[in-house]
Symmetry: none
Subunit: 198 residues, 4 copies
DNA sequence: GATGAATGAGCTTTCATTCAT
DNA sequence: GATGAATGAAAGCTCATTCAT
């Protein structure tokens, strides 16, 4: 007859919230934001529709939260622990992390493609844009300055960064469309060949 | 009051059909497939809702038709008239055509991004996939065979083609997201620099 | 095979719109704004739910329209045609019209009670308030100036008007609650007795 | 750690119950019955949703209880202690009490307006009707018999009572709508002028 | 007694599609 | 061919109520 402790409640909330986000990511990835219904998500999570609104004010906010959860995939991608390594090695690690993440977290990357390219929804993902501009962009820039700082102006290096980013978006795009049959690793090696003699 | 000839008739139908497709492309591009309503499209085209169903069985079929119409942008891109030019020049022309098309036909490319990356809809776009596999892929392949035929196996060239395609998709992706501020031409030059000394 | 003419369409719209407003008034009156569902209204009107949204953007707007429609009951109440009659006669006519309207248009008056006294909804009924202040208030004022202009200041007459309005509102209030058993006419006579010897 | 006595227990229950009723009255008054949620009320009272159901079977029953609690405002209104005073003085005291109560207990009167005029809910308020008929009506009747018993039939006096009650409802109605700016006291004086020379 | 997570019925609203004219 | 009124399924969301602890 003792009531649940606040800790117990927090734990329950945490568990449900994570479950919802996880299943929402799958369903959003599979059907796209608009065709993914709250009903589908609740069924995928084995809970009632109403419960979702206990944790997220709206479908929109749920999407935001799913995306924020996805930030960690970007974080993992950028984890380049060893400080005493060359820029070339850093870029290789980054690429390896990226392709690994594509394989491991396909639902998230599907969602990323679908949402980012969506004309209206993407406006709502301000948090994501800020994150990209403040964290991911500068990291790439620092690596490319190390690589090309001697031979190029900063302006030119900016363009290098954008081309590299385009490549990342491009293989994500194609991998999402083609799935397992896409030769991710071979393409990655080919790309490195464009930057470094091997 | 001359009675319309069958030819006249067919011509009028064709004109109406094209008008609908054109306006539908704009509306789909602006709002995305799901948020674009038949009502919006009919208003943009200045006709009644019902008339659209006179030309297309369903919203889905209209989308298909809009997409098929968009093939012409691919066709234009691949128009490399002079036969007596080098593979390098062909690739340059292709890239020029590509970036020009991005600028000229932004609505189509928005739609392309949005739809292709859409997990379920894309299944319906079989016509597009067939087209890609039978027309665009082979063209790229022929150019790259000319470029690298001596030094690489066909397998490797396939990978080169896919890498190049990834760049194109990535550039389109980023251009659609960032719009006018994206330095399309500078990036194009950088990309060519990865293939040819300049 | 001739398409419907614009006039025909306008007529159809007019008919449906009026039907919806009429039935909405009944249903709102019977159940109150919140318990009255769009579903109930559509069933009362023998049409589909969706059709209501073809004519009114929202439930809110439907309520507004129902109310605007109800203005005519106020207009009828204030119809005092003969110009060459005394203020006393005018007041009598006004009261007669008022009680008659209560009897004839009970649904509207129920709705009026329910909505006006509702803390939040009433804010939306700005049109009604403006109407009252610009039309009904001044009319009462002119009658009471004629009645008491000699003996009272304008300030005092204002109070007389508000007292009279309170009687009207109270009578409507009680009539709506008690229904047919409420002795409307006897009370009307009693009220007149407070103003004129009889 | 003295064990709570049953009396202590009952007292605590009483206190909680009163707190809920008090806060519920505020919330109902502010948002109206339907828009006032159990959640709002529980937050206003600083307790959990579930606890409310420990004291009241349903939202409906809570409303009933809030209303019954409001009877005390009627009781206070009718408190005319001195027995040796004239009917005129009694009526004046009654009116003073009423206007004072309007000012002091605005939330209750808002709720009263909102609920009583609500077509379906009011059916549930049987307790209130019984109360009115057995307590408030007879009191007014006794005063008016004293006032007009010589000159009128009982039937007529009934009508006087109803007109007076309509006036009370009317100023409550208007006061609730207009708020502080409503000249309650001036109107009260005007009314008394209709009954007694002054 | 007390908590708040969880449920599910029911709400308003949207929109592809049909069809009488 | 052409119109737009009308339909109805399905969406997002709210909230009174229950119940395990």
């Amino acid at each position: 007859m003792t009531p649940r402790t606040p800790e117990k409640f927090a734990e329950m909330r945490e568990k449900s919230r994570n479950l919802i986000i996880e299943k929402a990511m799958d369903v959003f990835a599979k059907h796209g934001y608009y065709k993914a219904s709250i009903n589908m998500i609740s069924k995928a999570a084995g809970i009632s529709k109403g419960l979702i609104y206990n944790y997220f004010k709206s479908k929109d906010e749920l999407l935001q939260s799913v995306f924020v959860e996805g930030f960690k995939y970007f974080d993992e991608m950028m984890k380049i622990d060893q400080t005493e390594i060359s820029a070339q090695e850093k870029l290789e690690i980054l690429l390896n992390n990226f392709t690994q993440s594509l394989k491991d977290n396909l639902p998230f990357w599907k969602l990323y493609q679908n949402i980012i390219s969506h004309p209206i929804i993407s406006e709502k993902l301000t948090k994501f844009k800020e994150y990209y501009e403040s964290v991911f962009g500068p990291l790439l820039m620092s690596i490319f300055i190390e690589l090309f700082g001697n031979e190029m102006t900063e302006m030119e290096i900016q363009i290098e960064v954008m081309l590299f980013a385009a490549f990342l978006d491009g293989i994500a795009f194609d991998y999402v469309i083609m799935g397992e049959e896409y030769p991710l690793d071979a393409i990655k090696q080919k790309l490195l060949g464009k930057y470094f003699d091997r």
